[in-house]
């Protein structure tokens, strides 16, 4: 009697316990799915906000390349043509954009066009100088406000005073759409131009190059130094206090917040050594110091993985220790080190705060061509665009994020490839 009660109790308890077990497992599963869901949501947000930036809106404009207006002749030299009065041609074209525009409307219509239209008119002419004294229909870039409106990023149902485009402008845009004088095409500016105050002609080319130069600096500095340090610590260093100090130092540096490295760059590289501000040289140096621990850890691991018998073989035929290490051990550790380096570079590519500290946040409207030229960097460019009040920059920032993520993805793919291709099992 008693016995069966106890048994029942145990059975019911067991049921409860197994339920509890299920629940716990379910919690874990939910947590994992939640984390992954956030990842998906994040990527979705970026894509949905950003894909429109790869398109731009262009408008068909009839331009009259009249030689009087341009102050050119059919046989002007190229240099003279460069100085032609294209802004006057543009003004004329806009005045005739719609029939019978009043003075105030001309002003409004003018705001539908990008500031870059002058250049486009000029470039078209320089490419086809024979069009002088003819009327040409050319597609020119629309203003960001028009672009955003047509992409549906800015809404037209808000009160007029909270819109970039007023009712008259809206009606003109609608007319353009109706007459098929506006369309959307691939936004080449995004990939060929540097930053700009005007969203429609802002691109990532400048910051991309800046990032490339920065990464180049990081690689040039950190790769050899990391290898030197790892080889020393792994193969030569005597076991003493100083070696221990170096090891502790390296592991602590790995945990120092990146912004502190920025302060180091500002306080020492800029203020003490007087290196040029805002340049990939300084940015790269700071990031190199930051990446160093990552690469050293990878390099030491791959040095450790080389079996000692290889080194012994070399020593046994009379190689010195230096020869044995540099002829046999280091080459075998290189692929692993390179993999670690690429992963370190990928981290460096995404670092923003240290670059802000050393001034790579300045507005740089041209594409840098060297290490000592002021330039932007991709993550800082994203920051600038995120912070910008202008609507048109938001899609730009999301698109720039896509660029940086693809860049990162490729770097990691290369690292994985290297690992699979060259990793040796001893």
């Amino acid at each position: 009697m008693n016995n069966s009660v106890a048994k029942e109790k145990i059975i019911s308890l067991r049921k409860k316990r197994s339920l509890e077990d299920m629940r716990f497992k379910y919690y874990g599963f939910t947590a994992m799915c939640l984390s992954l869901a956030v990842l998906v949501f994040l990527l979705y947000t970026i894509f949905s906000k950003g894909y429109t930036a790869f398109q731009k809106t262009i408008v068909l404009l009839e331009v009259d390349y009249n030689q009087e207006v341009l102050k050119l002749t059919p046989d002007s030299s190229v240099e003279e043509m460069e100085k032609g009065k294209f802004f006057r041609v543009k003004k004329q074209a806009i005045e005739n954009f719609f029939p019978d525009l009043s003075k105030s409307d001309i002003k409004l219509v003018k705001k539908l066009f990008s500031i870059n239209v002058d250049n486009e008119i000029k470039d078209y002419f320089l490419d086809n100088p024979e069009v002088i004294n003819t009327k040409q229909q050319i597609w020119v870039t629309a203003h960001s406000d028009v672009d955003q409106l047509l992409k549906g990023n800015s809404r037209r149902d808000v009160p007029e005073d909270r819109r970039k485009l007023n009712d008259i402008q809206l009606s003109y845009v609608d007319q353009l759409v109706e007459e098929k004088r506006v369309k959307q095409v691939f936004n080449n500016f995004f990939f060929t131009k540097a930053d700009s105050r005007h969203p429609e002609i802002a691109g990532v080319a400048g910051s991309f190059m800046g990032s490339l130069f920065t990464l180049f600096t990081v690689f040039i500095l950190s790769f050899p130094i990391a290898i030197g340090a790892s080889v020393y610590l792994e193969e030569f260093a005597p076991k003493n206090r100083i070696t221990e100090l170096i090891e502790v130092n390296i592991s602590n540096l790995a945990a120092v917040p990146s912004i502190v490295f920025g302060l180091l760059g500002l306080g020492v590289l800029l203020n003490v050594f007087g290196l040029p501000r805002s340049t990939p040289l300084v940015g790269g140096s700071v990031l190199a110091l930051m990446t160093l621990p990552t690469i050293i850890i990878a390099c030491r691991a791959s040095l450790k993985a080389v079996p000692p018998s290889i080194k012994e073989g070399a020593l046994a035929v009379g190689a010195t220790k230096t020869q044995a290490v540099f002829h046999h051990v280091v080459p075998l550790a290189l692929p692993g080190t390179l993999t670690g380096t690429i992963i370190g570079l990928a981290q460096a590519l995404g670092e923003t705060a240290p670059l802000i500290m050393i001034g790579m946040i300045a507005f740089i409207p041209n594409i840098p061509t060297g290490l000592t030229e002021p330039s932007a960097a991709l993550p800082v460019q994203i920051y600038l665009w995120v912070e910008s009040a202008e609507r048109g920059f938001q899609e730009k920032s999301a698109a720039a994020i896509m660029v940086i993520l693809i860049f990162l993805f490729m770097m990691n793919a290369i690292a994985v490839f290297l690992r699979n291709r060259f990793e040796r099992k001893w």
Partner: protein, 457 residues
């Protein structure tokens, strides 16, 4: 200019190598003895003596040339009485005119003079640069060539040099730490010369906007960092509330329940999460989460600001999830299998085993992981810069706008930096606090984890 000097150096090292090689062969033939090392080592010896002095010259020129020239130009500049100059703009103008004479139109005569002064100095500098590089390379080669005798053991010397280079590489880490500590402390001392350290640590008023007009003192701004510390703490707490349970549960699931295939797919995905640049998280917080938090708050009648501790903290928590999960995963996996078997052996189910046996055993390691995560959260910058706000606000309400240490560092250094102004210097004092706290957390965490590892090894 520097391209051609690189070519020059390249030619120098190439010819020094050839020279060293042929010279030692000649010498040993003359003496009729075999040289102690291979000819290549003698060649490398000459090369090193050629290259290193040249590199030193090269870098000192690259670093200091512009500085020195500008200083000379400015010191000789004929300032007009009463006019106000901005040195940076002035220099930029002078350089522009010097580089591009067509800009000279309409510039004042002083500027044009200074520009020509600048150009001539640059020319002098270039000529002396090339001559000194050539001379120093020749001197180096000359010194080295005296040693090119068969009885000289070049290989030993080269290997010693290699040791020096390796030691230098290893000490870069030490130099970096010294550099960090030096710059933080040095600038912080300048800051604390103007602001009392007690005010900084204990006062609750952060108003770093010091009027730049003459006659006004630093005392008019106030530098009580308590609201900043509180904001940092609040964001960190929110982040940990998100990351700790999610990260830990994910780790437990992956380590104890998940099949091999799930582990193999989920781990790389979590690594993606870890590899996303923080500015991307900032964007995400700003564009998606902050508006959501605001709407959510308003639906409960709480007036949420567009940027809030909650939005920043939640996204920061997501950022930290993979960090916690991978560290905890390691820790859980290092709990000996025998403990698991002992518990399962007496009929405990998995959940009980995890809760009663594994987690208590792994606790120190997990605590260590959490401490590391906290240090990460405190040092994280871009998410909070974009999504937490810049105005100091002493509050415990996560729907409000707060600011953090890292944000204030960025804010203080964006725009004009004036190193005689406590506002700029405050960045370094805040940086010092940040550095000390994160270092402290890390040392403790590593100690805990280490002791934990020792227990099971």
């Amino acid at each position: 200019m520097f391209f051609w000097s690189l070519v020059l150096i390249a030619v120098g090292i190439f010819s020094s190598f050839i020279y060293g090689r042929s010279r030692i062969k000649l010498n040993s033939k003359k003496q009729g003895t075999k040289s102690k090392s291979l000819p290549n080592y003698y060649a490398q010896y000459v090369l090193i003596w050629c290259l290193f002095p040249a590199l030193i010259v090269y870098f000192s020129w690259a670093i200091f040339q512009e500085q020195i020239i500008q200083n000379i130009v400015i010191s000789k500049f004929e300032f007009i009485e009463g006019a106000v100059y901005n040195e940076g703009l002035l220099l930029a103008e002078i350089r522009n005119v010097a580089n591009n004479p067509s800009f000279a139109d309409g510039k004042s005569i002083e500027i044009i003079n200074a520009a020509s002064h600048y150009s001539s100095l640059r020319q002098i500098s270039q000529i002396s640069f090339y001559t000194s590089i050539i001379i120093i390379m020749l001197l180096g080669a000359l010194y080295a060539s005296q040693k090119l005798k068969p009885e000289f053991h070049a290989q030993h010397t080269i290997e010693r040099y290699i040791q020096y280079i390796l030691i230098f590489c290893s000490s870069v880490a030490i130099f970096t730490t010294i550099g960090i500590v030096f710059s933080l402390i040095f600038e912080s001392l300048r800051f604390f010369a103007e602001v009392s350290i007690f005010e900084f640590l204990f006062s609750t008023e952060w108003y770093p906007f010091i009027p730049i007009r003459e006659g006004q003192t630093a005392a008019e701004g106030s530098f009580g960092a308590v609201p900043i510390f509180a904001g940092t703490f609040l964001v960190m707490v929110v982040a940990m509330c998100v990351a700790a349970p999610l990260g830990l549960l994910t780790a437990i699931y992956l380590a104890e329940y998940a099949s091999k295939r799930v582990r193999k797919t989920v781990k790389p995905l979590l690594e993606i999460l870890a590899g996303i640049p923080t500015i991307v998280y900032g964007f995400f917080a700003f564009v998606s989460v902050a508006p959501f938090v605001k709407a959510f708050g308003q639906s409960f009648g709480i007036d949420a600001s567009p940027t809030s501790a909650l939005a920043a903290g939640m996204v920061m928590g997501v950022m930290i999830i993979p960090f916690i999960s991978s560290l905890s995963d390691d820790v859980i996996n290092s709990v000996p299998q025998s403990l698991r078997e002992a518990s399962l052996g007496i009929g405990a189910n998995k959940a009980e085993t995890i809760k009663k046996v594994i987690l208590p055993a792994a606790l120190p390691g997990i605590v260590g992981a959490f401490l590391l995560a906290i240090s990460r959260a405190i040092g994280e910058t871009m998410i909070v810069v974009v999504a937490a706000g810049t105005a100091p606000n002493l509050t415990g309400n996560p729907f409000e706008n707060v600011t953090t240490v890292t944000v204030q560092i960025v804010v203080a250094l964006i725009g004009d930096q004036e190193f005689d102004n406590p506002r700029t210097l405050s960045a370094f004092a805040l940086g010092l606090v940040l550095f000390v706290i994160t270092l402290f957390l890390n040392i403790i965490a590593l100690q805990i984890v280490k002791r934990y590892r020792e227990r099971y090894e």
